[in-house]
Amino acid sequence: MMNKNLFRKALENPLALTGFIIIVCVFLLAMFAPIISPYDPDDINVKAILLGPSASHWMGTDGLGRDVLSRMLHGGRISLLVGLVAVGISTAIGILLGALAGYYRGWVDTFIMRLVDVMLSIPSFFLILAVIAFLTPSIINIMIVIGLTSWMGVTRLVRAEFLSLNEREFVLASRTLGAKDGRLIFTHLLPNSLTPIIVSSVLGIAGAVLMESGLSFLGLGVQAPQASWGNILTDGKEYIQFAWWLSLFPGLAILVTVLGYNLLGEGLRDALDPRSNSA
């Protein structure tokens, strides 16, 4: 009921609607990648190395003669998946720690907030790379590492929401009537903090997609021969003097996807939170 209204209200916002349409299109393309890809993404063809865009290869071919369009479609699945799972992890941690800090306050709050301060003072890209140095780069590890290093924003947000909601009459009333901690948290505090959490998660996905593409570009994320937008760009750099299409298309895909998430997130913020005037 309430959620349905929120959803409709959000989509009346032109920014959110544009972002939503972009994301849906990207997801559909990725979902149907095995059906719509003109070639097998891993099919090496020595007779078709570094061909420019043409009718048979819309986005050209790479240094091993693989069809770039097919690799882009399959790579999209990885990039989208990593973004979603990483943000799922960071949001879950953020909600848990933020709720603990905002609800119990006192030393729990102090401890969690100092932990947030410490995590924020380590440059996140350094932190992620250092962790990866001690692990093997793989899709699962990338998702976990991005998730484990980006929960601080959500934690602060949930804590702030809980602290302000805690003082509101309906929560006080419920508490006076003898509601237990769990009931207060799950029926009153958490549902009323959902809007900012959703907004920050959507924007978080944008960040995670960028992070994954950066890591894969550096060769520390998704590993070849598995395609991802980031590691196609690695080839792009290698062949930059001969094959502009290897650099152009994957970057455009990242840009459009991240833009979609950013538009959706900012649009949701504008639509659902009348106080903000950002963007």
């Binding site: 380590i122 932190l127 650099s247």
Partner: protein
Amino acid sequence: MFKYLIKRVLWMVPMLIGISLISFLIMHLAPGDITNNEASFNPKASEESRQKLRELYNLDKPVIVQYGLWLKRMATLDFGTSFATHQKPVFWQKTDKDGNVTKGLIQEALPITLMINILGLFLTLVLAIPLGIIAARKYGGWQDKTITLFNFVGFSIPGFWLSLLLMYWLGVVNNWFPISGLHSINYDNLDTLGKLKDSISHLFMPVIIPSVTGLAGITLFVKNGMLDVLFQDYITTARSKGLTEHKVVYTHALRNALLPLITIVGLSIPGLIGGSVIAETIFAIPGMGKLFYDSVLMRDFPVIMGILTIGSALTLIGNMLADVAYAWADPRVRRGVARG
């Protein structure tokens, strides 16, 4: 003010201890111990190199002793010797008996990274402040809409992709700028002016790219700050007493709108330091980011841990300087600080 400064510096101590705990945790993250892991990456890793790792991090001692020794390493900035180059990771400059100086790896790399980031940050501010002011003054107009669109693209564009495009267009197609390194091969033979020109052309792309990608956030921030200020009572007062619009905007509004920018610049430091990894790798700049990337590829743990620590310390120092500068620049806070 002095008391505040002392307090703020002391605050860094528990933070550094926290950072030491996190970095200790990272080292023990690998399943088993890191020596197995290193061996699994590199089948040629000999028993000897494993022994070296064990000694470096005292892996044969109890965990609490290991942590104590790690804390000592951090406190003395002694992270051991790089596996790859046998240089010290941090600042230890050694002069051997022939007078050859061996510098610490970070000692060589850090100034380059700092220079590029400071130039980039400066450029960002020079562009972002006017853009933000225009967007706020023409709020809702076409100028504002264009800048907003630009901001969305700026937030979403991968910096390394922009680097590749510029590299292709400015470096490969037009050959206007060199695409890698800090100097040309013939740098040492150039005269002073030639050296300066050479350095600028090498630095152009590495500096311009982080500032373009960082522009969106700062522009938005200036715009929102201006919008908040422009509707306050004292601005109405300034207008109604007949001041020119120029004077209202640039002397009354701007000063208050820009104050929070100090904090934002402080907060952007970890992003800048971290972002230098990709930028420096692309343009082959021998700074701290490239050093870190190379160390991660070679699993050169002493250097990795050294850079992690120095990077975090820089962030803490940057944030502290921002807080102090804010307290100094804002008379309201300054008086509050003096009282408290």
